[in-house]
Every structure is written in structure tokens, then in C-alpha cells.
Symmetry: C2
Subunit: 220 residues, 2 copies
DNA sequence: ATCCGCCTCCGCCGCACGGGGGAGACGGAT
DNA sequence: ATCCGTCTCCCCCGTGCGGCGGAGGCGGAT
């Protein structure tokens, strides 16, 4: 490292913010702020011209917001810079939008100067991402979805009943379920009735809903 | 910062890895490796005794793996250290498990020394998380789930029909839907029929399935 | 040998459901 | 003034569905 400095472009509609960031970053060894932009459109052209290593991109900007600017930069440039999206609010929607747009990192404006510097260094040298507490939410959300809220009745279902519930959740009628399982229609009905009783569902629709909401089957 | 050094504990079953990490980290200003552990159980007791700021935890270890060790540390200690999980493989399952266990960060063993150092500094100074490319997957997964696979019929549903579909997906019968919307049963039936036609569903169950799988309503 | 859980089937019955029509009222679009 | 989409409601009809009870076979547990 530190052979050639990390070249950074700042994109923010407020001059003061840009100045503050520039002061912080220019004071650092191996980091050089090479350009600024006040709008999303300007950011795109500046980046296209200067080809920086890292872009600090504000989300809220006139003309084109940071998200779209990020999309455009990543879509139109070969070997694009790593883009760190900067925002004031820890708004989930922005985080996800930024990630979807292809941002390499995400940073809050209230982040400490150290965090800012490390963020720039980090995204510059690796394919790593930097994150504020928002990731906790993302991760927790994902984690919460994984082990499922534990369906209490799932364990009580017999193997055959589980099969039937899966087929019910696929939208099959009793007759179709019977055909698929190579059993008589009466048998299918019996299993369905058992599933309804064990899931506490009033009808097959509620049973299917329970199957989805409990994670017994995934929407995918 | 740099007032008091960041105190780090290394947990990895291979001595060579521990040594390598120690060499890298000890060379850094403001970072001090204060302890090592070769097993998950050992990691728990060492951390309990030394109270470090950061723990670099290998996932694959004898007796207790890194994930469980992380869980135990976070569950039993007040003011626990920030734990960075280190692994060789970019295995998604490990990432999610680690996050679920409460790890503050995630790092690949093939990460550059710089990344390692910055990871330690980062988790030590803020509530920030550090990430390798695996986050891309996580984020992409989340992003992919957000805008939904675009339900083509959703736009074709009228406001009332959308209401009805939501109530259908809640497990209500036609009569109940009518009551909830303060309309006659016949009207509810009409709307239901329209929903079935537009979603291409054969019966209400299939319509509800479509609502779930298309993201029209969320399992949560 | 006995019990119990699971799977397999059988009837009967009531009803909500879904298909196929038609119809009136309101509002916005042109 | 006319059309069209939406919401509202009505009829009939067939049937799949769900509730009820009963039955036989088969395997494991004790």
C-alpha cells in the first residue's frame, strides 16, 4: 500500500460537507481527494473523467440522486470505482437501494472521522464492504428468517401429512393430491383433515397460509 | 484513539495461523494481541479472563466451533468483546450463522494483512461491521427479495380486489370478507371471482399462494 | 399378546365455494 | 352525451370441500 495514493471523488450537494470530508481525507497519508461534484449528474461526468478509485456519494442530491448516479456509473464505466454511499439517516430503504445499485459500502454522516478514513482505505484495497449499525438490522433480519419462528405443529405432522400439506401449499385439490401420492381420494381427504386439525386451520387455505408464515415452505 | 491499544485475542486451532495473525497485528501501532486459544472452549475461558476488545474467531475448531463459542461468549459476558469470525471458505451458511450468533464482523483467511488490521481497528472503535464479498450475496439476496419478482397481475387488480386478496390471504371466507368490507356477500364473491380470474388461480387457495410467492403479501 | 400410531379406505351430509350469467349506479375520460 | 371501468348486488347450479363416524392392516413398543 501507500505506493500510489487512493484517489477519491466527493459527491454531495452541500459545499460544507464536501469541504469537511476533504479536510479529513486530505490530512490522511495515502488518500487524495481529486474531485468534487454537487449533483448526481455532475458526479457521473466527474467520475467518468477523473476515474477515481473511490467515490463518496451522498444519496440526496438534486437532479439525480446518489442511488441512480451509482447505477449509472457502474453501468457505463468499465473498471468502475468503488462507491461508498453516504447518508444522514439510517433509513433501511436507502441502504438496500444502495446495495442493490451496486454500492461497495455504506456510511452514516455522523460516522467518526476515523471510520470515514478506514472506510475509504478498506474499499480501496479490497473487495470488502464497510458498514454501520444498519448491517446489524440486515443481518438480524436475515437471521430471523433462517431458523424460522419454529412451527409448533410441524413436528406433530406425520410424514404423509407433511407431504399432503406441501401439495396443498402447491395448490392441488384433494383429488390431485391423491393422484400424486398414488392413493385413493378418501385417503387424501383423511390426511387433509388431519392436517387441518393439527394446524388449527379451518380450511385448506388457512393451512396453506400457516405453512407459508411458519416457514414450513418457503415462498421461493 | 491510540490512547490505549486495542486488546485482541486470537482463537484458531492451527498454531501457524495464530502466529501469522499475531505477527501482523503486533506490528501495528495501537493493537496488542493479549491471548490465544486453540479450541472453542478455550476461547470462551480465555476471553472471560482477559476481557479483550476484539476476538478473532475461527469457525472450525475442535470441541466447540467458533459459532457456538461466539454465542457463549456473548450470552455469558456482560460488556462482551466484538467478535470477528474468520474462516477459509466463503460459505454462506457460515456467514449467516456467524451473524446470527452475534458476530460483529466476518473475514476471510485469504484477506490481505491490511484488511485484517483495518477490520480489527474498525470493530474496535465503532459499532461498525466489516465484510468481505460475502455481504454482496447477502445484500443481493435481500435486494432481490425487496422489489419482488414483479407480480404482473398486481397492477391489474383494482383497489377493492387488492383488499379482497389481502383478506383472502388472511384466511377469511367470502362471508367474512363481506363483513370486513361492509358489503354484501354477493359483492365479496364477485371480487373474489375477479381476483381468481386476474391471478389465473383456480381457487382461492391458489390465489393466496400466488399472493405469497409473488411478494404481494409478506409471510411476516 | 396387547396396545397404539400411522396409513389406507368407506359411507353420509351440509355448505361454502366457484362458474355463469345479468343488472344498476357512480365516476372519469373523450 | 357517451363510453368504460369500478363497485355494488342478484339469480341458479354443480361440486369440491370439510365434518362426522367407522373400519381394516401394519408396524413398533411394552
Amino acid at each position: 500500500m501507500s505506493g500510489i495514493p487512493v484517489r477519491v471523488v466527493l459527491a454531495d450537494d452541500e459545499r460544507m460537507v464536501r469541504t469537511a470530508l476533504r479536510v479529513i481525507l486530505d490530512a490522511e497519508e495515502g488518500i487524495e481527494v481529486v474531485g468534487e461534484a454537487a449533483t448526481g449528474a455532475e458526479a457521473v461526468s466527474v467520475v467518468r473523467e477523473l476515474r477515481p478509485d473511490v467515490v463518496l456519494m451522498d444519496v440526496r442530491m438534486p437532479e439525480i440522486d446518489g442511488i441512480r448516479a451509482t447505477e449509472q456509473i457502474l453501468a457505463t464505466l468499465a473498471d468502475p470505482p468503488r462507491i461508498v454511499v453516504v447518508t444522514t439517516f439510517e433509513n433501511d430503504a436507502y441502504v438496500y437501494e444502495a446495495l442493490r445499485a451496486g454500492a461497495a459500502g455504506f456510511l452514516l454522516k455522523r460516522a467518526a472521522a476515523e471510520e470515514l478514513v478506514q472506510a475509504v482505505r478498506l474499499v480501496a484495497c479490497g473487495d470488502s464492504l464497510l458498514y454501520p449499525a444498519a448491517v446489524r438490522t440486515l443481518a438480524a433480519e436475515h437471521a430471523a428468517r433462517r431458523p424460522a419462528p419454529a412451527p409448533p405443529w410441524a413436528a406433530r405432522l406425520t410424514g404423509r401429512e407433511a407431504d399432503v400439506l406441501r401439495l396443498m401449499a402447491a395448490g392441488l385439490t384433494n383429488a390431485e393430491i391423491a393422484g400424486r401420492l398414488s392413493v385413493g381420494p378418501a385417503t387424501a381427504k383423511t390426511h387433509v383433515a388431519a392436517v387441518l386439525a393439527k394446524t388449527g386451520a379451518r380450511d385448506r387455505t388457512q393451512a396453506v397460509i400457516a405453512a407459508y408464515t411458519s416457514g414450513f415452505i418457503s415462498p421461493a
